[in-house]
């Protein structure tokens, strides 16, 4: 019997800084020791008092003891969080979930993400760069004005033999094409020890397929509707896995057995819905 009392403790933190990444994406910085030491892939349950509680990956922040969340404004909860200002209070518990694994023998890794999927990946890049790995980051977006975290990605990898590749679906910035297209090209001319991805599930499905086909180890961080975040409520189930407890990170082997990966998810009432 083991109680994760400290991570389960609800902490109320003050937003100390806000950064507008795009018109619909914002980063909120706060002080919290447990979040500061979160592992890449872990998430927090963020409480917006009397409005919602939503899962958010832990964003890195340069100050010791600090962390952040980066929100894309969408429904009620995320919009309310997006609108919080410097000085406002939010609650948090966690970090929860497993993490992206960097094996001892890895020397060169490929990180592919889009949108707020970059959040756990930047934490991963920061760890990997401290370990002096060669890192290629592919950063995808629909169009130029949705590109963010480019500077941060470059900064994180500046002191290693690494590169940051931007791509947009419409070619308005960086390479033209999806991250999946970019990856197809990259793996032809490079050997990566592992591919790490987070972003829209259909994108991740494409990336995992290529990786599996090319026998490159791959790890993907998944999202599902979450209530408890700790393996009680079952709302995050994906086949026989709990994304909150067994994930959020799954490897290529696991994903190839998960029939619903990239196919369907469960709604708030637990009904299965197919991805369009």
């Amino acid at each position: 019997m083991e109680f994760h009392t400290s991570i389960n403790n609800r902490r109320i933190v003050r937003i100390e800084e806000t950064v507008s990444e795009t018109p619909t994406v914002k980063t909120l910085v706060f002080k919290d020791d447990l979040s500061y030491t979160a592992k890449p892939g872990q998430f927090l349950m963020i409480w917006i008092p009397r409005i919602e509680e939503i899962p958010m990956s832990v964003m890195i922040n340069s100050k010791e003891g600090y962390a952040a969340v980066t929100i894309r404004k969408s429904g009620i909860g995320s919009t309310a969080l997006f609108e919080r200002k410097k000085g406002d209070l939010i609650g948090l518990r966690g970090p929860y979930g497993n993490e992206f694994i960097i094996r001892e023998n890895y020397k060169k890794i490929l990180i592919i993400g889009g949108g707020t999927g970059l959040v756990p990946l930047l934490r991963l890049a920061s760890y990997a760069s401290k370990k002096k790995l060669k890192i290629t980051i592919v950063l995808g977006a629909k169009t130029k004005k949705e590109v963010f975290f480019e500077k941060m990605a470059k900064k994180l990898t500046e002191h290693v033999d690494s590169s940051v590749i931007i791509c947009t679906d419409d070619g308005s910035y960086g390479l033209k094409g999806t991250t999946v297209n970019v990856m197809s090209n990259l793996v032809r001319n490079n050997t990566f020890d592992c591919v790490y991805t987070c972003g829209p599930e259909l994108m991740m499905r494409g990336i995992v397929e290529i990786a599996n086909k090319n026998s490159i180890p791959v790890q993907a961080s998944l999202e599902r509707y979450m209530k408890c975040g700790i393996g009680i409520c079952g709302s995050c189930c994906l086949d026989n896995m709990l994304v909150c407890q067994d994930g959020t990170v799954f490897n290529g082997k696991q994903l190839s057995k998960i029939l619903d990966f990239g196919i369907s998810y469960r709604d708030k009432d637990g009904q299965k819905i197919r991805y369009n």
């Binding site: 209530k227 408890c228 009680i232 009904q271």
Partner: protein
Amino acid sequence: MDTNDKNYNLSVKLDKIHLRNPTMLASGILGISQSIFERLYLENIGAIVTKSISVKPMKGYPNPTVIPLGGGSYLNAVGLSNPGVDAFSRELSNNKIVPIFISLVGSSEKEFSKMVKAFDALNILGYEINLSCPHVSKMGMEVGDDPEAVNKIVKTVRMNTNKPISVKVGVGSIDVVELARVAVDAGADIITAINTLRAMSIDIETMMPILSNRIGGLSGNAIKPIGIRCVYEISKKLEVPVIGCGGVSSWKDVVEYMIAGASAVQIGSVLGSSGPRIFNEITTGLKKYVEKKQLKNIGEIIGISHKY
């Protein structure tokens, strides 16, 4: 069903059915996915109780809906979110080996009869009627606090199935033994005790209630001594198999419930700290206890404390 280990028999009888061991999944815990049920079955669980299902799908309350309180206790007001009878019939339609009770929730006899008609052809063990959810109006406890409604609903379910029916009771504003008696008189074969207790948590920084529904149900370690008391009283006063529930976190707690009078024991909140492997750990612990106490079958300890 066979036992994993022929030397130590953990199988228990519940009304007319047998479980390979007394551990069960409590309703509302990981309870909507057949794939998860199969995984739990591999973890050596005795039986599953599904999330409480209603006629129509229910989204439930906005989050926060589940709060860890520390010390192994939790507060929840999920609002009975569930996929509804149609989607859930499809979910279970291919069940072959998992011993499943479907938990039912509703507010009228009509709703219950509709659900039982839809589910009864599935490969399931039986039903659990949730009369004790403490935080959804016109359902659960608001029904359980009304003996006349309980009588009618249990009779309705009884008329529509030959499978065992358990009625889940809780600590509301009617005595738990009285409520169980009404259920048994109306045709319940088993009593499950207890559900969560009405409770609340307020954040002192923002001065706001944390659950979106403000009030929810307390589960986990905190409620075990109350669950033990209810099982003891019901099993002592009524001739009915009782399933214990509330605050079980180890094999020792399962044994305590059985000694109090439980024929089987449901396990819920502890999954938040231990994950699904808890069922394997608990059955391993139970086997050792049975060996140490030189029992032929764990059933020998059911209600043994009534002697003292």
